[in-house]
Symmetry: C2
Subunit: 383 residues, 2 copies
């Protein structure tokens, strides 16, 4: 049915009408006083969201552009870095770091398991020569639905004294607490089509003071992603290159809605949806992919043993027009993922659970009486 699609994937996430309408305004000049006002306002909003007093810079690009910018602006050729890798995005930052000739040591965990903060502590403590310049990791690993303990790892990096913490918070920012300054995270990257409740196209790099000191030393080649240019422009409420003006309109509107809801309420909502989704999947006999206690507030990965996850996902789309995410790489067909990130309300979670139950029933694959999932979700949603 045309226009009935509901997105329950980890990005793009659903977008409020208010934001879509803001985006549909005629563009204005990006060197005008009116646009400067928008940059000033959104900068304050972004600092609020990141809980930081530092610069939060806006790029036209995807989350990958933001993370590449984080890396190429704070590190130099041959620098030793630790990369956390427990999923597709962890893997990606290893590739980016290697593409720029960094000396990469990978700290791995199995997909579905969280990164072990102790492994970072050990590696950092062993580095008495203080050669490690950066620790790159993904906070919420979208491919597996695992949340990593960024706070603990950033604490170990701080104790090291020289290295920076560079965090992919693409699916954690705006979903759970990421108090950048309080935790001492030096660089945070994120993207608009996630907790921001916006279409894709903008990405964000927040840089703390230590990151700017590292910037001065960084020798990796860059131009479009040169954050020094963005900082200089930002200090004049501007952008060094023509930005995606209409997405800025959307950004101002979306962050305004988030401020109205409040950080605490946003985090509570995501936590509620995580709990409801997890409880529902357990109640209907579908095992969670992420290790117990480490599920992401943004996305729940489900590994329905003995069931073709791709076939289930397609049926849910076909019958109920709800788009779930599939498994990536070797998880294709083994895992499906329910996004509960951004502009998602209790009704959406209940609906997704009900649709999955009805689909399993229709396929003759239900392991529990239909309604068990909805019942379990309802309990958590009311808690």
């Amino acid at each position: 049915m045309q226009d009935k699609l509901t997105l329950m994937i980890p990005g793009p996430t659903p977008v409020p009408e208010t934001v879509l309408q803001a985006m549909a305004r005629h563009p204005i000049g990006h060197r005008s006083g009116d646009f400067q006002k928008i940059v000033r306002r959104t900068t304050e909003q972004l600092q609020w969201l990141h809980q930081t007093k530092g610069h939060v810079l806006v790029l036209t690009g995807s989350g990958t552009a933001a993370m590449e910018a984080a890396i190429v602006n704070t590190l130099s050729r041959g620098d030793r870095v630790l990369c956390g890798d427990n999923g597709k995005f962890g893997e990606r930052w290893v590739k980016v770091a290697k593409a720029y000739g960094l000396n990469v040591e990978v700290i791995q965990a199995e997909w579905g398991q969280p990164l072990d903060p102790e492994a970072f502590r050990a590696a950092l403590e062993a580095d008495t020569a203080k050669e490690i310049r950066g620790v790159i990791l993904t906070h919420s690993e979208t491919s597996t639905g695992v949340i990593n303990d960024l706070q603990a790892i950033a604490g170990h990096v701080k104790a090291h004294g020289t290295a920076l913490t560079i965090a992919d918070c693409v699916t954690s920012l705006g979903a759970c607490d990421v108090p950048m300054d309080a935790w001492g995270v030096d660089v945070v990257g994120s993207g608009s089509q996630k907790g921001y409740m916006m279409p894709p196209g903008l990405s964000f790099v927040a840089m703390g003071e230590r990151a700017w000191t590292a910037y001065e030393r960084s020798d990796l080649p860059k131009f479009y992603l040169d954050l020094g240019k963005y900082r200089k422009a930002a200090d004049d409420d501007s952008n060094p290159f023509t930005p995606a003006i209409n997405l800025y309109f959307a950004l101002e509107a979306a962050l305004g809605m988030m401020q109205k809801e409040g950080l605490e309420a946003i985090f509570a909502r995501h936590d509620r949806h995580r709990r409801a989704t997890q409880a529902a999947m357990k109640a209907i006999g579908l095992p969670l992919y992420a290790a117990e206690g480490h599920g992401s507030p943004a996305i729940t990965a489900v590994a329905p043993e003995g069931i073709d996850a791709e076939a289930l996902r397609k049926q849910v789309k076909e019958r109920f027009d709800i788009l779930l995410a599939g498994g990536q790489d070797h998880l294709k067909g083994k895992v499906f993922r329910i996004g509960h990130l951004g502009f998602v309300c209790d009704r959406d979670v209940l609906t997704a659970v009900a649709a999955i139950e009805a689909t399993l029933q229709g396929l003759g694959l239900a392991k529990a009486p239909i309604g068990a999932g909805v019942a379990a979700a309802a309990v958590e949603l009311a808690a």
Copy 2:
């Protein structure tokens, strides 16, 4: 007056309602069959616009991102390149090339003058060792309103045999004829907020076969701008990173409108607006900044001797809500620029001329009877 702004700058250019409305649709999944259809369709449309059979890749980013991608995907560290520089954008590509450690030889012309194709011919012919790997130049130099002779220069590059022509066609594509394959231009970069009649946020890199051969050899570090990843994804009607989905909706709509109008009609319209604007400025005694016969089809730069160009521009904005562009860098206050690029009709040109005349009159600075500019423009618009 709210919402009455008319853009007559070289980007962002005015956007049709059809395109704005397309952009305001709810996002769909970028890994869905529905999105693949859009990628397939827009790819064909882009090939039509570029008059090429090769790949035209879509980046989320500004025109600078596209040009940086053009450079970092076809060249290697230490490569000798010629850079044409006769304005702000020529200057910028010199900076990008140097940021990546290329061995840059600048072929300069004064601002307002076109690049001399003979200077390129001479440098290329002198290079009997065939060391020159790339010739980077700007087709329409937005800062000065000069169009460079891309066809002639690309011809000399072709005769050289080894070097590639890498052209910034940001304000020429969709404004005048750029038959990429016929002229043998190897790489063409462009941006959405120009002839495309779209908001900013997408940029485009068209790569010919020789450019892909050079890609295999290129050793410059890249990840987000790695065009090999975009080619691989494009062959599956996809995008390697989450693209600006809503801008893709806009792209499909805008290119559909352009196809309906037809390339010949689009080029004739821009030529008519160039002629009308030039004739009007001459008729009211305001000298053109670009050398006679080398004016861009996208933008006319005016150097109103003895008049503060910035004050004039501000009055036109204040009284008539028409945004003209100012002079950049050392031209600030000396030059104003009238954009006639993209979604601009005869009425817009006539209006801009009339507003400039009325403003001059109001400031007591008119050098010709009011109406002389409109009369001259009207003749060209009817021709």
